[in-house]
Structure formats: C-alpha cells, structure tokens
C-alpha cells in the first residue's frame, strides 16, 4: 500500500456558531415564522426524516389494507403539514416530534377509513376492521426514527465538516467508527500519526454529537432528558 504524505493542513475547527447548529425545535420554530415559504421548508424537513418511519409503521399495522403506504403517508403530510397550526401545536407542547407524528398519523388513518366508508357504504371490506393497537408496528416506527436520526445527524455533521474544510476529519471518523478500521490501518491509509488521527477523529465526533443532540432536543428538554431519550432510542433499536 502506498502511504500518503503526512497531512499538514490545519485541523482548526470552525467558529462556535457552526459547531452548535439550531435544534430541530428552533429550526422548525424559525421556519414557521417565515410565512408560507418557511412552512413549506419546515414540512420538507419533517418529511425528510419521518416519511420512511411512518411508511414502515403503516406496512406493519392493521391499516395496511387501506392502500399504498407511500400514498397514505404522502396524503397525511399533505393534509396535516399544510394546516396552519399543526407544527405550531407541536412547538407549544413538551413532546418529542416522533410521538406527535405517530399519534397524528393514526388519527389521519381513522379519518381516512371513515371517508372510505362514507363513499363505499357497506362495501367496506372485512379486512378493514381495524385497531390502532399495533405495538410491533409502532416499535418498527420508533426503530426507523432512531436510525433515521442517526443518519441525519451524520449528514449534518459531514456537511459542517466539509464547509469548515474538515472533510478529511470526517472521513477519518467514518472509516474508524462506521467501517471499523483500526487506528493502525487508518494511520497507514491517511498518512497520519496517532496523535493527529485522534484529534481529527474527536473533532469530527464532537460535530456528530452536537448534531445528534440538536436533532433530538425538544422544547423544555434538559441535557439529562436528551440523554434519556438517546438511551431510549438505543434500546428501541436493540429490542
């Protein structure tokens, strides 16, 4: 293997404002104050994180005979996120967005059933006798949210690293923590000494940590609350 020349680029982290991005809560709050355009952006943000988890929930639930999962989730977003007060109500409460959305989605599905019944009358199929008691599907939803949050935090941290000229820091971090490469292998791959390697990896890791906590934080949540939520998400994935 060819050893790359030792990296002499500065390992300076970016400015503090870049290190601590807006939380999901403050991001949505700020967007909602920005009129219709902001509302659309907030909706886009919510959809980017929760489309897949809601689809997963739908497919594992007794609602699944209602139609195509993606169509229903899309219908749900179109109906609820376009309402003036939907996300504002979440902002006013002290609840994680995932619980807010799954509850709203179930309500939406029941509304959808009533609508279908009105149209079809007694032609509603037997399979459409539904219950919202689908613990396994709900577990899958929360599991999918947990993985999605990790993925989004990684995307945010990577973006921040690249914007700050720390792209290699991020690559070192990913190669070690995601790809499982040892220090020794990476020292050879990147041409870094151990000290520099650890500094780069920690710098990128700090960015990931800040992004993750910001995504998880909700209104009124303390640092301890965020820790508890992280532990909950870990348990959900492992269950």
């Amino acid at each position: 293997m060819t050893t790359k020349p030792r990296d002499r680029r500065p390992v300076n982290p970016p400015t503090p404002n870049d290190v601590f991005p807006s939380t999901q809560y403050t991001l949505i709050d700020r967007l909602l104050q920005d009129g219709d355009e902001g509302r659309l952006k907030a909706a886009g943000h919510v959809m980017s994180v929760y489309l897949e988890p809601l689809r997963v929930y739908y497919l594992g639930s007794s609602f699944r005979s209602l139609g195509e999962g993606e169509d229903l989730v899309q219908g749900f977003f179109a109906d609820r996120l376009s309402r003036q007060g939907f996300l504002d109500e979440w902002l006013m409460g002290n609840r994680q967005l995932r619980y807010w959305l799954i509850t709203a989605f179930r309500h939406y599905l029941f509304e959808h059933i009533r609508q279908v019944k009105r149209h079809r009358g007694s032609e509603m199929p037997e399979s459409a006798v539904l219950t919202d008691d689908c613990p396994a599907a709900e577990d899958e939803f929360h599991r999918s949210v947990a993985v999605g949050i990790v993925r989004q935090a990684m995307e945010l941290a990577e973006k921040e690293c690249i914007e700050a000229g720390l792209g290699e820091h991020w690559r070192v971090f990913v190669r070690h923590h995601i790809d499982g490469r040892s220090y020794e292998e990476l020292q050879s791959e990147f041409g870094l000494d151990e000290k520099r390697f650890k500094v780069m990896s920690r710098t990128a890791g700090n960015k990931f940590k800040a992004s993750l906590r910001d995504l998880i934080r909700w209104r009124g949540a303390s640092e301890e609350d965020v820790d508890i939520e992280i532990r909950n998400l870990m348990e959900i994935i492992e269950s």
């Binding site: 503090p16 179109a78 993925r151 990931f208 940590k209 998400l233 994935i237």
Partner: protein, 157 residues
C-alpha cells in the same frame, strides 16, 4: 415553487445503516460524566460568548504576571506560565461569581496549552491524554488565535 407535498419531493431512500452501528453512534451522543470544562464550553457557546471572552482576557492582562498576548507569541517564560496557572487555579476556587470562575478556568487551560506549545512541558498533574481531549473540545468554541493555540497543544508530541 414546487410543493414539498408532491411526490417528487420525497427523499430518496437512504443506504442501510447497520443496527449495531446506529446504537454505537447514538451512544456517542451521550453527555457522559460532566466536567468543569463543559460549563466553560457552554458559556462560550452562548451568542455573547466571544465578547465575554475578549472582555475577560483584557481584564486578565491587568492581574496576571504577564500579558495574555505572551501566551500566544511564546514570550511568557515557563515560570510565568506556571504562576499564571496557579493563580487561575486559586481564582477558580475562590471566585465570587460563576462567571469569574469560568474565566479563570479559561486562562488556566490556555496557560497549560501555552506551556506545551512553547516549552514542550506539561505543567499539570492531569494526564496528557485528558488534556488533549480538553484542548480539542475547548478549541471548538474558542476564537482564533486561541483556537490555534489549543489545537497546536493537542498535536504537540
């Protein structure tokens, strides 16, 4: 503008992330044991953090055995840095306000960093590994040129 509710705007499915990897990544987000330095990092992260630091450092210039600039340019002797560190340590314990204690902690860390960078000496009983971690974490919220000093200290062999 295209509505985000239209099907075309839904995100592309993301590549699979192994469950165990996701758990490991989540565990990295835990705060862990609280360090005094975390209070300083929180203070510096506030919107007025940089102004607060500059005001604090100007005030330190009047009370310390050498100027704060000498920590950067290497003109502070090792003895001066040790005395600065000791004065700061006392101030942390005796400070009248939390803000003053945090300010003293900042100077304490910077004097240890300067001793490493300019004299190659660790003037603290805490391990080098612990200091390297502290330097990296603190550098994330420090303005230039203090950020550079801290990163140089973390990389010092």
């Amino acid at each position: 503008m295209t509505s985000p509710y239209s099907s075309g705007s839904f995100p592309t499915p993301q590549p699979h992330l192994q469950k165990q990897t996701a758990v490991t990544m989540l565990s990295m987000g835990l705060v862990g044991k609280h360090r005094p330095l975390d209070d300083l990092i929180d203070r510096l992260s506030r919107p007025d953090g940089q102004v607060w630091l500059q005001t604090l450092l100007r005030r330190q210039d009047r009370t310390l055995p050498m100027s704060m600039q000498s920590l950067l340019d290497g003109t502070a002797s090792l003895d001066q840095l040790k005395r600065t560190k000791d004065i700061s340590k006392s101030l942390i314990a005796d400070a009248e306000t939390r803000e003053m204690a945090l300010g003293a902690l900042a100077v304490y860390c910077l004097s240890v960093a300067a001793a490493l960078v300019h004299h190659g000496q660790l003037i603290s009983s805490q391990s080098r590994e612990e200091w390297d971690t502290l330097f990296v974490d603190l550098s994330a919220v420090m303005p230039v040129p203090w950020r550079d000093l801290l990163m140089q200290a973390a990389l010092q062999q």
